[in-house]
Every structure is written in structure tokens, then in C-alpha cells.
């Protein structure tokens, strides 16, 4: 299940500032993500988590500050994105959606690799299916295969399982954590259980403008069982921490 990723870099967010009009999202925000590890960022809805993810992805330009990688190479072109929805293009088949990166770069698509990835996410027989014929969970599995196809070392995920039912969510969390091992992953979520199951490092985004607060992750290696004592303990602590923000 491991992917051959050569040295996924660490990522550093340096004194980042950004506003929506007069509404500041972050000012001088700094944080770092360990290379080859999964970091989960939690915060309440509307806190600016997704904006921060877009700033790191280069989809938004900061007013000040920058995002650098430990190997000194630029991040654009080395990022895979997984959004809140599956974002599958409805005119393409599952296989074509998986190979989207090749299509969008005018490169020859590797059908064999796409089929292999679809097999890994448990959709071996559905390569020719259009997204409209797939369930929400299946579509998100295709999105996961699409994220893995370009073999990029950094993966940014914006609440990727928020729209799924609990059981589908749990099985996809396990699958994703296994398949993204060795990559530098930033997972933005508002679900403490998701963070505790999948992340090597956990941080809380709080306040306005945003402040980053490191938070300990359970000791066992991810993906962790729901019933893992560390998961349950940290989940409880995270709920308390986030509830304090809510008040």
C-alpha cells in the first residue's frame, strides 16, 4: 500500500497575512508541517481554515509572508488537492478522472496506473463508470485515486469526508491514511475524531485573526482505531478545546 515518494519535504508557513477586504483572516501566522507526515488542522466552521489551505496551495496570494519547502524547490506543481466535494468532472469516466493531471498537462495518460489505483481504492470494476452512476463514497474514492495519480509529495485536503455518512467516512479515513503514508499531508477538518485517527501532528486554529496552537496527537501510528484509548482521550481533549472557542 505504500507509495514510492522520494523525500516529501517539510513545509513552513512564514508570517503569513491575508484579509478578505477589511476582515483579516491571518496576520503574521507561522506554522510548520513535518515532511512525510500528516498534520491535521482543526478549527470551528468559518474560522479561515480553508482560506489558509488555499494560501498554502497558491490558490490565493498572501498580503505578506510566504510558504516554503525544506528542499528549497517551489511548491506549485508538487501539490495534490482534495476538496470538500469530490470535484469529479461529470463528463469523464472514473478512469479519466483519475488521470486528470495528465490530461490537464497535455501528457500521455498512464491507463495502467489509473486502473491500479482504482483497484487499490476498491473500484477495480468501475473504471468506465461516469460519476453520476457512483455513490458519494465511491466518488470520494475516485477523488482519492486522482489525488494519488500524479505522485506529488504534498497533499492538501479540505474536509474531504465532510459530506459522507459515518461508516463510509471511517473506512475512507483508514484507506486514505494508508495510501498517503510518506507524503506531507495537511488535513483541514472540523472533526476531532478524523484528526485523531489520521494525523501524526494536530494543531488548532483559533481566533480572528487566526492563531496556530500545536496540540498533541495520540501515540500510535495512524491510521488508528476508533476505539484506541489514545484516540478517545485526545478526541475528548480536542472537543473541550474547540468548545472553549465556541463560547
Amino acid at each position: 500500500m505504500r507509495n514510492p515518494v522520494v523525500s516529501a519535504p517539510a513545509i513552513t508557513v512564514n508570517a503569513l497575512s491575508f484579509s478578505w477586504g477589511n476582515q483579516p483572516v491571518c496576520q503574521q501566522l507561522s506554522l510548520s508541517l513535518r515532511g512525510g507526515k500528516t498534520t491535521a488542522l482543526l478549527g470551528r466552521s468559518g474560522s479561515g481554515k480553508s482560506t489558509l489551505l488555499r494560501l498554502i496551495a497558491g490558490l490565493l496570494l498572501p498580503a505578506a509572508g510566504d510558504v516554503t519547502s525544506s528542499d528549497g524547490l517551489p511548491l506549485p506543481g508538487r501539490i495534490s488537492w482534495m476538496g470538500q466535494q469530490d470535484l469529479l468532472y461529470p463528463w469523464l469516466t472514473a478512469r479519466e478522472n483519475v488521470m486528470l493531471a495528465a490530461r490537464l498537462n497535455g501528457e500521455k495518460a498512464d491507463g495502467g496506473r489509473a486502473d491500479e489505483l482504482l483497484e487499490q481504492v476498491g473500484l477495480g470494476g468501475l473504471a468506465e463508470a461516469k460519476p453520476a452512476a457512483l455513490s458519494g463514497g465511491m466518488r470520494q474514492r475516485v477523488a482519492l485515486a486522482r489525488t494519488l495519480y500524479p505522485q506529488r509529495p504534498v497533499v492538501l485536503m479540505d474536509e474531504p469526508f465532510a459530506t459522507l455518512d459515518v461508516l463510509t467516512k471511517l473506512s475512507l479515513q483508514t484507506l486514505t491514511a494508508n495510501l498517503l503514508r510518506d507524503k506531507t499531508v495537511l488535513l483541514v477538518t472540523h472533526d476531532p475524531l478524523e484528526a485523531c485517527r489520521m494525523a501524526d501532528d494536530i494543531g488548532v486554529l483559533t481566533g480572528n485573526p487566526l492563531r496556530y496552537e500545536p496540540f498533541g496527537a495520540p501515540e500510535a501510528a495512524p491510521p488508528r482505531e476508533v476505539s484506541d484509548a489514545g484516540v478517545l482521550h485526545q478526541q475528548g481533549r480536542l472537543f473541550s478545546r474547540l468548545s472553549r472557542d465556541e463560547r
Binding site: 501539490i79 470535484l87 490537464l104 498537462n105 461516469k130 453520476a132 492538501l156
Partner: protein, 244 residues
């Protein structure tokens, strides 16, 4: 297929009822000929009708080519650059503010009695709905799809080809359908203003001579052209348009 059969049947019933109502009201046949008289005219004047049909069809196809081509290019240009949008949008809106009926005599004066003036009138009429529908379609590409494409590719060309264009296809087909229906109207309008050939010209001539059966025969051919063009769009839509 069954739906199409019922549509055709419904059309024939409406025509038959309208004709019977006119008969009952005492409308003379030189004003409203019987359906069989129109059929006879279609057969009797087939060579004449075929000659003018060829002319009108050529004009329609050229108008579609020019109108769809320029409408598509203008929509893409406006969607891809804010500067071009600011430059082109007022011009395109202004071009539609002038009634085409008022412009048609001028186009005939400038471009002559030949094909060019009819192509220009029809192309001007069909340009706007096609351009606007496609432009709207291109601008309404869901932001999530765009963000994904931006993280995967720096190439604007491939993003257009594989995302913007297919995402805008529903809008394009709406505009195309309107264009197909408007093209015959535009061509006939141009032929009425000034022409020496074409089905519109033939209708004017036969009306003046009170040969209304021939006029209705030309009208029937125009109706068939429009239905055929509409059917072509339906087929293309079925083949190329994705379902969400």
C-alpha cells in the same frame, strides 16, 4: 421516437383544425389554401422550389458558420480576459440595441442583393444568443473544479480545453439551439428586404401574384429546414452533452 410521432401528429391536427375553422368562417382559398393544394404546389413547382431552397439553405449554412464562429470566439475572448470583456461587451450589446429589421435594408445596400447581405442579417441575429449563452456557461464553471485544475496544471490552454469548454457545453448547446431556429428567420428577413433568389423572395413574389399555395409550399420548406436544424442540435446534444 413515440414522443416525436405524437408531436408530428399534434402539429398535423392543429394545422387541420385551423384550416377547417378558416373554411367554416368562409375564408377564401386564395387567402388560405387547402393542405392538399399546398402539397400539389410542392410537387408541381418542385424544380422552382428546389432552386430557391438551395439558395436559402446555402445562406442559412453560411450564416450559421459565421454567426456561430464569431459568437464562439467573442464569448471565449470575453471569458478569458477582463480587458477584452470591457472592450467587447458594450459593442455587442449596442449591436443588439439596433433593430435588425432597421439594419437589414442598409446591409442590402452595402453588401448587395446577393448572398452576403442575407448571411450578414442572419449572422447578426443568431450571434447574440449564442455568444451570451456560451459566455455565461464559461463564467459559471464551478470554482471547486477550477481550483482543482489550478493545482494540477499551469497551462491555461489545457485548462480551457479540458475544463472550461466541456463545463460550458450546456450553455453552448442552449445558444446553438436558438441559433439554429433564428438562422432561417434572419435569412428570410434579408430576402424580403432585397433579393433575387431564395424561399423568402419566392414567397414575396407568389404573394404578389396571389399564388398562396406556392407561398405556403415555400413556408412548409422553411418549417422543415428549421425542424431539421433543431433535430440536428438534439442529436448533437445527446451525443456530446454530459449529464450531471
Amino acid at each position: 421516437m413515440r414522443d416525436k410521432f405524437y408531436s408530428l401528429l399534434w402539429l398535423l391536427v392543429v394545422i387541420g383544425c385551423a384550416w377547417q375553422a378558416a373554411r367554416a368562417a368562409g375564408v377564401p382559398t386564395f387567402l388560405l389554401p387547402a393542405p392538399q393544394a399546398v402539397l400539389v404546389a410542392l410537387v408541381q413547382h418542385r424544380a422552382l422550389l428546389a432552386h430557391h431552397l438551395f439558395y436559402t439553405l446555402t445562406e442559412i449554412l453560411l450564416a450559421l458558420l459565421v454567426g456561430i464562429g464569431s459568437g464562439t470566439l467573442a464569448a471565449i475572448a470575453m471569458a478569458s480576459s477582463q480587458r477584452l470583456r470591457r472592450l467587447l461587451f458594450p459593442l455587442i450589446t449596442a449591436s443588439q440595441a439596433i433593430p435588425i429589421f432597421a439594419l437589414a435594408p442598409l446591409l442590402v445596400l452595402w453588401l448587395g442583393y446577393g448572398i452576403a447581405s442575407k448571411v450578414a442579417v442572419a449572422a447578426l441575429i443568431l450571434f447574440f444568443p449564442l455568444c451570451l449563452s456560451l459566455f455565461e456557461g464559461l463564467c459559471r464553471t464551478p470554482p471547486g473544479w477550477l481550483e482543482l485544475a489550478q493545482t494540477l496544471s499551469p497551462s491555461r490552454f489545457y485548462r480551457f480545453r479540458h475544463l472550461y469548454w466541456p463545463a460550458a457545453l450546456p450553455g453552448f448547446f442552449t445558444g446553438l439551439h436558438m441559433a439554429m431556429i433564428l438562422a432561417p428567420i434572419g435569412v428570410v428577413m434579408g430576402e424580403w428586404v432585397g433579393a433575387s433568389e431564395g424561399l423568402g423572395y419566392l414567397m414575396m413574389q407568389s404573394n404578389a401574384r396571389l399564388e398562396t399555395a406556392l407561398s405556403f409550399a415555400a413556408l412548409t420548406l422553411l418549417l422543415m429546414i428549421t425542424l431539421l436544424l433543431s433535430a440536428i442540435v438534439t442529436l448533437l446534444r445527446r451525443k456530446y452533452l454530459w449529464q450531471s
